[in-house]
Amino acid sequence: MSRVILWAAGAVLAVAVPFYLEGFWLQAGLFAMAACVGAIGINLLTGATGQLSLGHAFFLAIGAYAYVYFAAEPEGDLGGLGLPTPLAALLALVAAGLAGGAFSPIAGRLRGAYLGIATLALIYLGQHLLFNAEPLTGGYNGRAVPPMELFGFVFADTPELVIFNVPFGALERLWFLGLAVVLVAAWFARGVLRGRPGRAMNTIRDHEIAAAVIGVPVGRYRAGVFVLSSMYAGAAGVLLALVFQQTVPEYFGILLSLDYLAMIVIGGLGSVAGAVIGAIFVSLLPQLLTRYSEALPLVAEPGSGGVSPAEAARILYGAAVVAVVLFLPGGLLGLAARIRATVTRRVPPPSLTPSPDSPRS
């Protein structure tokens, strides 16, 4: 019962937010939503299957740029197909998946941290392509992102729309699109993790040979999960592009990939909720610090020579990654479970893997 109330409260809160908060927080929230989708994807790969990937930013870039390419009208030197935007978004997911599939001969055969180093290649090749394939990507300056249009409803500032005396601009409209995408992404990943594939993935992570002996096609699973996680990254990339309204090649560098790994470690490896918590933490932290930098000790304004908010945020979550692994196995999600257990005086099973009592399909 309490669960239903919690969900209902969450839903009301999520719907009410765009009516009250200002643009800055809406944008921060939308970034967090995109991060949630991407983090769920990489948690399937790294958390549930034990395959490290530093190439997540590359697939985000594919999603973002593919959407722009498919949706934009050709203009001057810049190419584009001018397809309907929902179709372009779907094709962007497919493109990210295909890119992941193209890497699968490596993704299927390398294990754990080896794959991490191999995927570094994707980042650098990706950056090279983004800067040099100018007809596709617009090179250094990036490209403007055409707004999404669903059944005649445009996710942009024009035409004007006012609901309950609140002007609904691009951010307010995208808020609901973002919520929907996050929900679908979380629901699908939950299904994957709780069903047969999830068990196979966890077995591969925990004991590869045992998995193979039981009859799990290890290589095929690894490649498959890699493709799935790239599609999640592609979806996150599309969402991010819609929020940014401009694609910037530098953004999709190695630091972004590291951010995603930090998210899932801080939140909790191998579960959807962990990915979501970590994504919110890591993507809102810099925004919070920027907003309140005057009031905080040790954090200086950007450009004044002290520790800038962005740097402070990086240092904080770098430390958080280390601290979580040393002191909080299971991440913030594990911490929440432990607090709940102390409050209700029940001893929970240590849950690194998603709950084993879930119904089998």
Partner: protein
């Protein structure tokens, strides 16, 4: 032809420096089975100490301090974090080193800011003329020092007690512990040695023709990752060969980039990663890595 020879020598010299970095990386992997993503930050730390200290205490003392400092940072990471992290999977340990890397690199690049720090090396921009070929003196020194250090390291690995302990641990940690080898000391030593090697590499990555230590130095250090993995993560020979392959390819592709213009600007920087991808497609365990076999 002369350009080719110059590029080749330069490539070998840079490759030897990459090999130093990759060697440290492989040593850590062999001793502790941790893939150390914080390696670039060790290198940056070493270079930073040299850059900050050389005006006051002179280059050689600063170099010694830099090597000692990087070794200390490496040892501290092992002692404070890796040893205490109680996790099941080695991928999680790799992620911890990523956390350490984020911390160190953010702080160091903040300290460096937008400056380009000179390391105060005695070679400057002198150029050596060998017949028609002209090479920067720093490159010759880099090659000599790297060759010397690598030889010394391989000999120590083979003949000293420390080396034997290290190899035994890599072979079978549990049995080695039963034979009286102190695993903690072995892994501490591995991290310290890797740090020291990285500091030497930092010096040679930042001297002429490179302007000096700046925020981009970590990127140069990143190229040692493909060097380590294409040779095979658990092979010291692999690290050497990998380093040379990466160095030579990079030098060639940057040198002939006008002929390779169709591949886009700055292809030299991406070349190491291209080579790595191709080699991993053919040999997933790297050139000299042991293919993992398990008996059930």
């Amino acid at each position: 032809m002369i350009t080719f020879l110059e590029l080749l020598v330069n490539g070998i010299s840079v490759g030897a420096v990459y090999a130093l970095i990759a060697l440290g990386f492989v040593v850590i992997f062999k001793a502790t089975e941790v893939v150390n993503f914080a390696h670039a930050s060790l290198l940056l730390a070493g270079g930073f100490v040299v850059a900050k200290l050389h005006p006051s205490i002179g280059f050689w003392a600063a170099l010694a301090a830099g090597i000692g400092g990087a070794a200390l940072v490496g040892a501290l990471i092992e002692f404070l974090i890796i040893r205490r992290a109680n996790v099941a999977g080695h991928s999680v340990l790799a992620i911890v080193t990523i956390g350490v890397d984020i911390l160190l690199v953010t702080e160091l690049t903040r300290q460096i800011g937008t400056d380009v720090l000179a390391l105060g090396d005695p070679w400057g921009d002198r150029v050596l003329h060998l017949g028609p070929i002209s090479i920067a003196e720093t490159r010759v020194v880099a090659l000599a020092v790297a060759a010397l250090l690598i030889t010394a390291f391989l000999l120590a690995f083979k003949y000293t007690g420390w080396g034997v302990a290290m190899r035994a641990t890599a072979e079978d940690a549990e049995t080695a512990a039963l034979m009286g080898i102190r695993l903690g000391r072995v892994s501490l030593g591995a991290w310290a040695v890797a740090g020291a090697l990285a500091a030497v590499a930092a010096l040679f990555l930042c001297v002429f023709p490179t302007p000096g230590l700046d925020r981009g130095t970590t990127f140069a250090a990143m190229k040692a990752f493909p060097a380590a993995i294409l040779g095979g993560l658990d092979s010291t020979t692999g690290a050497l060969v990998g380093g040379l392959i990466v160095g030579v390819t990079e030098a060639m592709m940057s040198g002939y980039q006008n002929e390779l213009a169709f591949l886009g600007r700055g292809i030299g920087d991406v070349a190491p990663f291209l080579v790595m991808t191709v080699i991993l497609l053919i040999r997933p365990a790297g050139l000299f890595g042991t293919r993992e076999l398990s008996r059930v």
